[in-house]
Amino acid sequence: MTGFKRMMGVSALALATVFVAGAAVAGTLDNVKARGKLIVGVKNDYVPYGYLNDKGEVVGFEVSLAKYVARELLGSEDKIELVPVIAANRIDFLTAGRIDAIFATLGVTAERAKVIDFTTEYVSAAGPSVLMAKETIISKWEELKGKSVCGIQGSYYNKKMTEEFGITLVAFKTQPEAYRALKDNRCIGFVFDDMTLQQKLKEADWTGYKIAVAPYEFQPMAGGVRKDDAEFREAVDKAIGKAEAEGKLIAWETEFGMPHSDYIAARAKAASAKKN
């Protein structure tokens, strides 16, 4: 019963998505101004981009960026509603009209570009790497062929892992399950987003592990807006460009404990040069 129910639930959600998406194509900027509030989908479990601080507030690199955009559009960074999203629902939330924009570690891919529009790219994020026990001699993706590696269901790189690298992927719903399974030796490594794994290594009970296989790609990250809504996308782009020119993104890197990237520095330089 439960399996069937869940399927029906998801189909109904998908159905609703299709209908609502048709209705709300253009005019987000007018809607936002009339409402006096920008509704943004952000992560709340992803250091440093969007997470809960000690007081239980959602903060992070992309949360600061979203607030900056709200200030540019509506005059105050408080005129914002932060909606926690996860990778599996953020695009549905956007196309269904529940949120106006995504600032939630959204990697730019051709597949996604068919469904939504991307804003200016503002971060070059490392792709997946593999966390393994320190003793391992594996250091290349090709060496993982035929090996069981833990992962997360729905990750965009899963197909590449199984089809290109020949990895036996053991994919879980959530990260804690995958970490547990790695410690239980159900898999020899955990393939996941490099930034998250780097943060994990700072924790005391993960000292026996290392990033054994480095990311094979660096992917630009951008905000997401509904397709064919140029007016809104340009307004958001302008706000992001202004934040870059003012050196805000570099300041946020510092604030949220991220290593300073050449990519963001170069973009800040280009943006401020363009302004002057």
Binding site: T2, I91, E111, Y156, N185
Partner: protein, 238 residues
């Protein structure tokens, strides 16, 4: 109208995933259904002995496995049993690894869950049987075993077939929860495919149709079995 796009089905990787998914779903369903029927029969047989401690034991088993969500049972088997010490040393790596694979955990959990339900179904079959038949068998000189296997079991099986069909269809659909502990069955791959392609609706419609087709085959077979086994005076027998 909805602009359904099934072009992703042309991708050989997705075709293979769906095929593996269907095969694993069928394997899991077949294994756990068979085991559930065996457990159900043994449990119901156990009840007929009317031994105090055996009754209590079977009842405890039924209560534990019928009254807990199968999802929780699978997670427990997958994550907790190995922590409690159910581990072996892998000779090739020297590492201590969990004894039960994800598939084994799912198959065992579903078998026990289905088995607990089946015990109750078979028991209801035996208990609703007219006393006169049992008395008739006894007066004809049937012993305890012969009475169970030749009289009680055949009639009880026929009486409880509709209930058993319900249990088996539910068990079949519950296999979809095994994706949570990484068993690569149909829902496991369906989720990955719609995450890759964003064709949520299309994937869901297809998977729904596959489940309807597979479960319909099961219910059709059970209906035929019911018709085949029917005898005068009971159920569909004329």
């Amino acid at each position: 109208m909805l602009g359904l796009d099934y072009s992703w089905l042309a991708d050989p990787a997705y075709q293979r995933w769906l095929l593996i998914g269907v095969v694993n779903t069928l394997k899991l369903a077949a294994l756990s259904s068979s085991a559930a029927i065996v457990i159900g029969m043994l449990g119901a047989l156990g009840f007929t002995f009317r031994i105090f401690w055996l009754d209590a034991l079977i009842e405890l088993f039924v209560e534990v496995f019928r009254n807990t969500p199968p999802l929780l049972q699978m997670l427990f088997a997958y994550f907790t049993l190995s922590t409690l010490g159910l581990k072996v040393t892998d000779p090739s790596t020297g590492l201590s690894v969990p004894l039960l694979s994800a598939f084994a955990c799912a198959a065992i959990s579903l078998s026990l869950f289905g088995g607990a339900l089946a015990i109750e179904a078979f028991r209801s079959g035996i208990e609703t049987m007219p006393r006169s038949i049992v008395d008739a068998a006894r007066s004809l000189g049937y012993g305890r075993w012969a009475r169970f296997w030749r009289i009680e079991a055949p009639i009880a099986t026929r009486i409880c077939l509709p209930a058993l069909t319900n249990i088996l269809t539910n068990l079949f659909k519950t296999t979809s929860q095994a994706s949570v502990i990484t068993v690569p069955e149909l829902m496991y791959y369906a989720g990955q495919i719609y995450n890759d392609t964003f064709r949520t609706l299309e994937v869901m419609i297809l998977v729904l149709l596959i489940y309807v087709a597979l479960v319909s085959m099961l219910t059709f077979a059970m209906a035929r079995l019911e018709a085949f086994m029917a005898f005068p005076g009971y159920g569909r027998g004329l």
